[in-house]
């Protein structure tokens, strides 16, 4: 049931409206951060208000004008979109709190620019989440690439410049070279219609050969999803301040990438039609390759944030692998994993940042014995690790369960093995950190003296996200219901 409403537009705009306020209040940091908080809470409130409506089976829609012939700027809020928006907007509040602690703790420069660009990025993320057609999706996708560039290059040094260069060249390059022609091709073939529909607007209008090319152009072109070989922007983007890495490069930006891929699978082609074309296996194997390779690379990374980044690439591979199985359970797993991985990975990034703020350490080898010094942070780190590996009692298990069931449902036993190997690798690169942080001999420990945690503004968010990881294990119902709206899977 489609319903016209202004809510999606307002939700999208709230964070954008905060930008002028942030810029005007640049001389008064407290007031400036207050405006961010007001916008963040308003945004979460609006998203939360839409959740029950969406659960009722209603689809909220807002369209504006006609930008291209037959194609308006269109917002459309369905289960998948609202789930992603809910994750992004709730974590924005926590990240803002964290960012205040982090940026002030390190006395960073240009904080006004930082918070302004952050607000724009969130708007773009919500824009992608609510996009009702391919053109709107692309518009906000590009807006996100551009608005995060100043954040990635925040430090302005040589490393930041080269990181920023990789970032933009990968994200813009692939989107212009692959997504743009694929999108126009869809437009030409579908006769000027680009609205996402349940069965896919391209269904039945394209052959298998073209279908494969278009599908690959989309999945590789949305390089924010970190699929190999266009993944190297993500480790390089770790030069950004940690709040950016946390929200954008564990949640918003990368999830926008996989979100777009899920939309392409479900809304552009439709899983049934892809099954008829029999082309999704190629994507499965690219994703499987990404999962294994990135996990292996993560093992060798000593820089904690880079290790997390490669872990993210692997986890994004899970999501794409899940959706490319084309089975309802697999797609459900993918959608769930957007949320579950977000909670786990943002916790890990928050911890990495907290360690940096408190101890100025950023290498794994320097963390021996840190568990005594920062017990709360490292406990949260342990919970986050469990979630990413997919162990109880964390939400990661739930989504991984569905993903593995998906492989069984579609009869892809080889891919099931991929999941298992990857889980073992995940454990290999996370658990030693936790183990050596807590359980080392006193003479090995690099730290002594009293407990010394990061500022409260850093500590509180990471506790909350760790708690969310655990909570989503016991009560994943909301996410399951929202995912079920797309896939039809009842739990």
């Amino acid at each position: 049931m489609i319903e016209e409403s202004f809510l999606p537009l307002i939700t999208w705009m709230v964070s954008l409206l905060a930008v002028p306020a942030i810029l005007l209040l640049r001389r008064n940091p407290n007031a400036r951060e207050t405006s961010t908080f007001v916008a963040a809470f308003a945004k979460l409130g609006l998203v939360a208000a839409m959740v029950p409506m969406v659960l009722d089976g209603r689809v909220l829609r807002f369209s504006f004008g006609e930008i291209l012939p037959g194609i308006p700027l269109e917002f459309r809020v369905d289960g998948l979109g609202i789930l992603f928006a809910l994750v992004a907007s709730s974590l924005w509040i926590l990240t803002t709190l964290y960012a205040v602690g982090y940026m002030r703790g390190l006395k960073e420069h240009d904080q006004t620019r930082f918070f302004a660009c952050f607000a724009v990025s969130i708007s773009a993320t919500i824009g992608v989440a609510f996009a009702g057609n391919l053109f709107t999706l692309y518009l906000f996708y590009e807006m996100l690439s551009l608005s995060t560039y100043p954040l990635v290059t925040h430090h302005g040094d040589k490393e930041a410049r080269s990181g920023g260069r990789t970032y933009l060249s990968h994200l813009l390059g692939t989107s212009v070279a692959f997504v743009l022609p694929a999108m126009i091709y869809c437009w030409v073939r579908s006769g000027g219609d680009m609205s996402f529909t349940d069965g896919g607007f391209l269904a039945g209008k394209i052959g298998a050969g073209d279908g494969l090319i278009v599908l690959l152009a989309f999945t590789l072109g949305f390089a924010k999803s970190g699929l190999m070989p266009f993944h190297s922007w993500l480790p390089n983007a770790m030069v950004a301040p940690t709040p950016v890495s946390a929200l954008l490069h564990a949640v918003a930006v990368v999830k926008v990438g996989v979100f777009c891929v899920i939309r392409v699978f479900t809304g552009v082609f439709g899983t049934d039609f892809l099954g008829e074309l029999d082309v999704a296996t190629t994507v499965s194997w690219i994703a499987a390759f990404t999962v294994i390779t990135s996990s292996l690379i993560a093992l060798s990374q000593d820089n904690l944030k880079r290790r997390l980044a490669f872990s993210t690439i692997g986890q994004l591979g899970y999501i794409i692998l899940g959706v490319s199985l084309l089975s309802p359970l697999g797609v459900t797993g993918s959608i769930l994993h957007i949320a579950m991985h977000a909670f786990g990975k943002i916790t890990l990034f928050f911890c990495a940042g907290a360690i940096y703020v408190a101890m100025h350490k950023k290498y794994v080898s320097e963390l021996v014995g840190i568990g005594r010094k920062m017990p709360i942070t490292m406990t949260a780190f342990a919970i986050g690790s469990l979630s990413v590996i997919g162990l109880p009692v964390t939400g990661g298990l739930v989504s991984k369960w569905y993903l593995v069931m998906g492989t069984a449902e579609s009869g892809q036993i080889a891919l099931l093995v991929v999941f298992l190997i990857s889980s073992i690798l995940n454990a290999c690169y996370f658990l030693p950190i936790v183990y050596r942080a807590f359980l080392c001999r006193p003479e090995e420990s690099l730290y002594d003296g009293d407990r010394q945690e990061a500022p409260l503004a850093c500590l509180v968010p990471l506790c909350i996200t760790a708690a969310l990881s655990v909570f989503s294990f016991f009560n994943p119902n909301l996410f399951l219901k929202l995912a079920g709206l797309i896939t039809g899977v009842q739990y």
Binding site: I67, P69, L146, L172, V176, P181
Partner: protein, 507 residues
């Protein structure tokens, strides 16, 4: 009164040119004001003209100069014919002229010394010429108007720095050759049909299309136009001419001259000759032209990539953009032609925006190399914002107009399955991305120490970051309008394309 709008667009600058000559060199401000008012009224008439076409049922306006009636079935006098495409292009010409006039206010005295009134006269005559080219329905009259624009632009370019004279001379040679080719072609047509009115020629040619002489006429006309529009490899005159010209001349001619010639090409292809003839396959080189366009796009992009001079770089990008439009026009596809037409408008908007921004930067830093942009986001935030909008449009990101013209051109390429043309467009977008983000990165993150301070004479502000740009308001205003138009042309692309589609004669 309203039926005279068409001719008043032309007459206002012509009248203004006369007045500025009479005012003479002593009254510079009066000259500027006269020119500005003339351009403003002319712009109003141009906009009114669009309204009249929308209101008229036939979608075109005809105006007989001097009221000469047709005799025995064909035109005797000079006829103006304005359809939607012409009306939009003419509006583009006078609006760019108007905004450029605002830009010129503070620069003229500095760059022109004692030739101020001549500058205003020549520039308005140039606008008269361009408007005439777009609106005339007479093949020979078109030649005369091309010569008017050429002669005035030779003089205007030669007013630039000391290398401008030589560039202008090159342009004279090439331009004259181009115009001669065009005239020869028209001569053939006159021999075959006995008339010069475009509609009449077209009507009388219909049963002669098989004849080789018509093919020769078509080839000669095309060759002439291509030289004039700097279609690769006939572009040699353009980069020097536009980059050494005075800033307010370069920023005016770069967006307009080539685009108006593309318009002439479309007019010759679709109205003087017919799409049926041009695309029928009788001309074996139809496919070849698309390939030449592809070469133009790729070569233009590479040449631009190699440049270290900001204006030179922009001029090579024009060469690539001309390739876009020629390719789109020769795809023999409705979407391609529409894209080509829309790109006339959108390319004018973004080139104008970029040239203005570059001129402001050069004025402010005294440096025309790309290194001049180092750290500029802090020192000139507004200028750099304008530049960035133009740059994003060149790269082709929504919602700027560059995105939408690529959209239509690529969909044209997909329609007919010409994948190499599609690939060339994408390649050029990527090269543009490299070119412009290189500059933007330098402007955003570059440290002044890296380039050495001696080349940046105006850098001694030392004020807090985000102070204003310290350039005259008139310049910032014109840049603001230009960058706004990049966005507006983009957002209203659906309307514009709807109008343009209606103007295309059916294939």
């Amino acid at each position: 009164m309203t039926e005279h709008y068409t001719v008043l667009i032309l007459l206002m600058p012509l009248f203004g040119a006369l007045v500025t000559t009479l005012l003479g060199r002593e009254r510079q401000n009066a000259c500027w004001l006269t020119a500005l008012i003339c351009m403003a009224t002319s712009s109003l008439f141009a906009i009114g003209n669009i309204g009249r076409i929308l209101a008229s049922g036939s979608g075109e306006l005809r105006y007989r100069m001097g009221g000469w009636q047709e005799s025995r079935g064909y035109e005797v006098g000079i006829e103006l014919r304005v359809d939607m495409l012409a009306a939009l292009v003419v509006a583009m010409v006078v609006l760019v002229g108007f905004v450029n006039m605002i830009f010129s206010k503070t620069r003229v005295a500095g760059e022109m010394k004692d030739k101020v009134s001549f500058f205003y006269t020549l520039k308005q005559l140039l606008i008269v010429g361009l408007c005439g080219i777009v609106m005339t329905n007479d093949a020979f009259n078109l030649y005369v108007l091309i010569e008017i624009t050429s002669l005035t632009s030779y003089a205007l370019i030669a007013m630039g720095n000391r290398r401008a004279a030589l560039s202008s001379f090159n342009y004279v040679i090439m331009g004259t050759i181009g115009a001669s080719f065009y005239l020869l072609g028209v001569g053939y047509l006159y021999i075959k049909t006995g008339t010069l009115n475009i509609d009449d020629i077209s009507l009388r040619m219909q049963h002669q299309y098989g004849e080789p002489s018509l093919m020769i006429a078509f080839a000669l006309i095309m060759l002439g136009i291509w030289i004039k529009m700097a279609f690769f490899p006939l572009h040699g005159w353009l980069p020097n001419a536009y980059s050494y010209a005075p800033s307010m001349v370069g920023s005016f001619m770069a967006p307009l001259m080539t685009k108006v010639m593309v318009y002439v090409m479309l007019r010759v292809m679709l109205w003087l000759f017919e799409g049926e003839y041009v695309y029928s396959g009788r001309l074996v080189w139809g496919e070849l032209i698309v390939w030449m366009a592809i070469i133009a796009i790729v070569a233009g992009s590479f040449l631009a990539l190699a440049c270290t001079d900001i204006k030179k770089m922009l001029t090579y990008l024009i060469v690539a953009e001309v390739g876009y439009m020629v390719g789109g026009a020769w795809l023999a596809d409705g979407a391609g032609i529409t894209g080509s037409m829309y790109h006339i408008l959108s390319d004018a908007a973004m080139t104008f925006c970029l040239f203005l921004a570059a001129s402001i930067v050069i004025l402010r830093t005294g440096d025309h190399r790309l290194t001049a942009f180092t750290g500029l986001f802090r020192r000139m935030p507004l200028t750099m914002t304008g530049f960035t909008i133009g740059a994003l449009s060149m790269v082709g990101l929504p919602p700027t107009c560059g995105f939408f013209s690529k959209w239509y051109l690529i969909s044209g390429g997909i329609d007919v399955g010409h994948w190499s043309y599609v690939a060339a467009l994408l390649f050029s977008s990527l090269v543009n991305a490299v070119i412009f983000f290189r500059i933007i990165e330098r402007a955003y993150l570059g440290k002044l120490e890296e380039v050495g301070n001696e080349s940046l004479p105006l850098d001694a502000d030392g004020g807090p970051p985000m102070t204003l740009d310290r350039v005259p308001y008139s310049m910032l205003l014109s840049l603001l309008i230009a960058s706004g138009s990049v966005l507006l042309v983009g957002i209203y692309n659906e309307t514009l394309v709807g109008w343009l589609k209606a103007a295309i004669p059916s294939l």
